[in-house]
């Protein structure tokens, strides 16, 4: 058995699936940034339900209430921000308010009320998720702290420990031992 690795662009993959599914059902649409779709003409309920069911197979959900839509937009904006090679230099609250065209206090309140977490913690969570990926690609803590705009390696290690209860090196050791076992089985 031979194992091959793939690299994928999740955004491009989702766009392709959406285009295929929407066009397949004859829906007139326009895809915008970060998971927003403009549907131009009214879609009959039966077709809409088919679309929902088809997309579900790919793990894509259509959000139809306003608050869930807003929360998803906030999450998408944060994920997009953390995934860039350089985090914004302005204050994150200003950045989010500007990208979402909404008052930050409002965004922050809606987010905390519905997600079991806060925007600040969610950003830390996403940054540490990215740090994990970079660690497993053998980047050093110094390189990762630059990419994720941490003021120091100590700050990065501290947040890593807070979010996982483990040091970055202990984390890496566990994942690599898991992979070894998977290879030998």
């Amino acid at each position: 058995m031979k194992k091959t690795y793939i690299k994928y662009d999740i955004n491009a993959a989702c766009r392709a699936i959406m285009q295929e599914q929407l066009a397949g059902l004859g829906i007139d649409y326009e895809l915008e940034e970060l998971g927003e779709i403009v549907i131009k003409k009214k879609v009959p309920p039966a077709i809409f339900m088919t679309l929902q069911a088809n997309l579900k197979r790919y793990g894509i959900d259509i959000l139809d209430d306003q608050k869930s839509q807003l929360i998803q937009r906030i999450k998408n904006t944060i994920i997009d921000m953390v995934g860039r090679d350089k985090l914004p230099s302005s204050k994150i609250s200003h950045y989010l308010a500007e990208r979402l065209q909404m008052n930050y206090n409002y965004i922050s309140a809606v987010f905390s009320e519905h997600t079991h977490t806060s925007i600040e913690n969610y950003i830390i969570l996403q940054k540490i998720e990215r740090a994990k990926k970079l660690l497993l690609h053998d980047l050093s803590l110094t390189e990762i702290s630059h990419l994720l705009s941490y003021s120091s390696v100590a700050h990065l290690s501290g947040q890593f420990k807070k979010m996982t209860g483990l040091s970055p090196s202990a984390f890496k050791k566990i994942i690599s031992e898991r992979k070894k076992i998977a290879h030998t089985n």
């Binding site: 997600t115 079991h116 996982t164 994942i175």
Partner: protein, 150 residues
């Protein structure tokens, strides 16, 4: 606080006192949860393997030293099946030995909780665990690298 749906939690622990403490702690957290308890590993595995049981819990708490007669080890048995690949497993144990912690993480656990002696600490730990697990669940984060020790 939960507006993204009900959280389904399962605990398998052969100590009756620990099961009751766990239930009480969860109830006092005032979250929108459904809790299912099992007395041993066999009951748990029968439940997970039950035909037609499509809906997996959001998190499974496993007592490390629990009785399991059909299999040597519950964690290994669950992780052997690809259907349970994304099921969050939290080891709930009296042991804080580094060897146990490391071995269970390598064996596929996502979370390791040392059973605290203090009820308030237990509540706080469970709250932390449920909150972070919920983020992994609702944001579709990679469960393969989800590790959390408390």
């Amino acid at each position: 606080m939960a507006k993204e749906g009900k959280m389904h939690i399962v605990l398998a622990d052969d100590d009756q006192d620990d099961r009751e403490l766990f239930r009480e702690a969860i109830e006092e957290l005032n979250l929108d949860v459904e809790l299912t308890l099992f007395k041993n590993g066999d009951e748990l595995l029968d439940y997970l393997h039950e035909p037609g049981n499509e809906k997996l819990p959001h998190i499974l708490f496993l007592d490390l030293n629990m009785l399991c007669t059909k299999y040597d080890d519950c964690l290994t048995e669950i992780r052997r099946h690809s259907r349970f690949k994304d099921l969050s497993i939290a080891i709930y144990s009296t042991s804080s030995s580094e060897t146990d912690v490391h071995a269970t993480f390598v064996g596929g656990a996502n979370i390791y909780i040392k059973k605290p002696n203090d009820f308030e600490v237990l509540k706080q730990s469970l709250r932390e665990v449920l909150k972070i697990n919920w983020q992994f669940h609702t944001s579709g984060l990679d469960k393969g690298t989800f590790l959390f020790r408390i």
